[in-house]
Amino acid sequence: MARPRKRKEIFALGNEAVVEGALLAGCSFYGGYPITPSSEIMEIMAARLPLTEDGVFIQLEDEIASMGAIIGASLAGRKVLTATSGPGFSLMQENLGYAIMAETPMVLVNVMRGGPSTGLPTSPAQGDVQQARWGTHGDHPIIVLSASNVQECLDMTITAFNMAEKYRTPVILLLDEVTAHTREKIEIPNPGEFEVFSRTVPSMPPEWYKPYEETVRGVPPMPPLGSGYRFHVTGLVHDRNGFPTQRPEEIVELLERLHRKIDQFFYDIQLVDTIETADADVVVIAYGSVARSAELAVRQARENGVRAGLLKLKTLFPYPRRQTEKVLAHARTLVVPEMNMGQMSREVKRVNMGRASVRTINRIDGQIVTPSEILKVIMQG
């Protein structure tokens, strides 16, 4: 692995790494409202963006306004970010739906803390997983990513921006308090060492532009406001010209395309890491900081002669079904440790369809699931 240039190393918080990743991905607009434990993302953006050429930072009056502002900025051509936690994520659901409907690229980082309601502001949890999937009303596709260590916070933020731009959709990055508040050494990749994708813009004369036209990828090109392509953006179900419609065939065409533009690219979107799963009898399926505990538990189990493996989910939704089925080919037991009452294990069970026995480990006391807890369940087989 020859590296032409040495990468800069920093000792950074997970939240700090999100900022580094966002800036590398081309983010030039942050709108937000502070909330523990995500505030460092906002604070660092407040310090960094005004020093860049065209970076805009704005603190809004609440999380609803934060979403409105970043959607507006995205429509005006910016790559945009907001970050929040717990109650703030609930407030963002309204305009999250708008961003899906109006196909507005944006990245929303939710640093999960204990809930419901104000809950446990400074303790980790993974209780927003199903909210990330279904929090906004109506049938909708969504991309939800996750990161389990500080380097991944950087890498997955870049990935989130790329997916948002590529698929013209909001992407949620779910972190938890442990990942966000751990400091670790990370490498900042050099330009050219990672992909940066920017939304496709129309390449025809404005009069011929149909803002929501069917394309092969299902993703129509998107011009920035004010660039000569005048069109109508709305949260109502709309036709190819962007105008509201109630005609059944146009409703179906739009909503099906919104799903299809994600569904046909599962291979690009569904990201996992595997550790020792090739021959594993017992496979732990974990994400976020709990995946770190799981990794240690799997290694200890191997030392104790149990063929254990880890399927680490970096994409939570759309749920990586194929990768799960691969481990199901030989796994007798699936272990799903989570800091919630079993939100991701629902997905695992849905895919498992009774093939392996699914053991869940659930903690809701504001503490991370420890390696020893997971090891105990692995050893029970």
Partner: protein, 200 residues
């Protein structure tokens, strides 16, 4: 850089009162070990009300291998800068682990096996700045822990500080290092060096 000593999850907890600079201490040391010495390090800390009021806590996990679980569970070294912190976290010290105390503030040590120095009065009287107490601790630990190179850590410290407080802190760092060597002896941390070379 000389050959890095092999470490397998060495866990340190810094604890004490809010305002003693505990988090900064952990962060500076973590940064020095991660960037200067090339170890894998995870640093976590107490947040929220805990970090504002009474007690403060900052953990480091240091390892030659990638660190999976980032939190400290079983401490190799506990640094207690207040009686409450000492009482609260002593039970997490692993058998054979070391306890470093602020000897003026921890009047009732839970054990006779500890290493103490009056860090606060040293900073106030010998450096002239009481707030430099955490840097005195850093200097002392740079002597105690055999896998820390004093010069590398000092350089890392300097690079993380604004110019106007750099000189004071270097003075505090050197003082801590010198006194630890004098009071605790040359081989105070030898236990870790031996253990690790045996493991390899």
């Amino acid at each position: 850089m000389k050959q890095q000593q092999q470490l397998h999850r060495f866990e340190i907890r810094f604890s004490g009162l809010g305002g003693q600079g505990i988090i900064t201490l952990g962060r500076v040391m973590g940064q020095g070990l991660a960037l200067g010495h090339g170890y894998n390090v995870t640093q976590t800390q107490s947040y929220g009300p805990e970090a504002r009021g009474g007690s403060s806590r900052c953990d480091l996990v240091i390892s030659s291998e990638p660190i999976s679980y980032p939190k400290a569970e079983s401490l190799d070294l506990l640094v207690a800068l207040s009686q409450e912190a000492c009482n609260a976290y002593y039970p997490y010290l692993k058998p054979g682990g070391a306890l470093v105390l602020e000897s003026d503030l921890v009047k009732q040590p839970p054990t006779n096996r500890f290493l103490g120095l009056p860090f606060t009065s040293l900073a106030r009287d010998k450096v002239g700045v009481a707030q430099a107490m955490n840097t005195v601790v850093l200097g002392a630990l740079s002597h105690l822990l055999p896998f820390i190179s004093q010069s590398v850590m000092r350089k890392s410290l300097e690079s993380s500080l604004p110019a106007k407080i750099r000189a004071v802190n270097v003075k505090a760092f050197n003082l801590g290092h010198r006194l630890a060597k004098k009071e605790w002896g040359d081989d105070a941390g030898e236990v870790w060096r031996v253990e690790d070379s045996e493991r390899d």
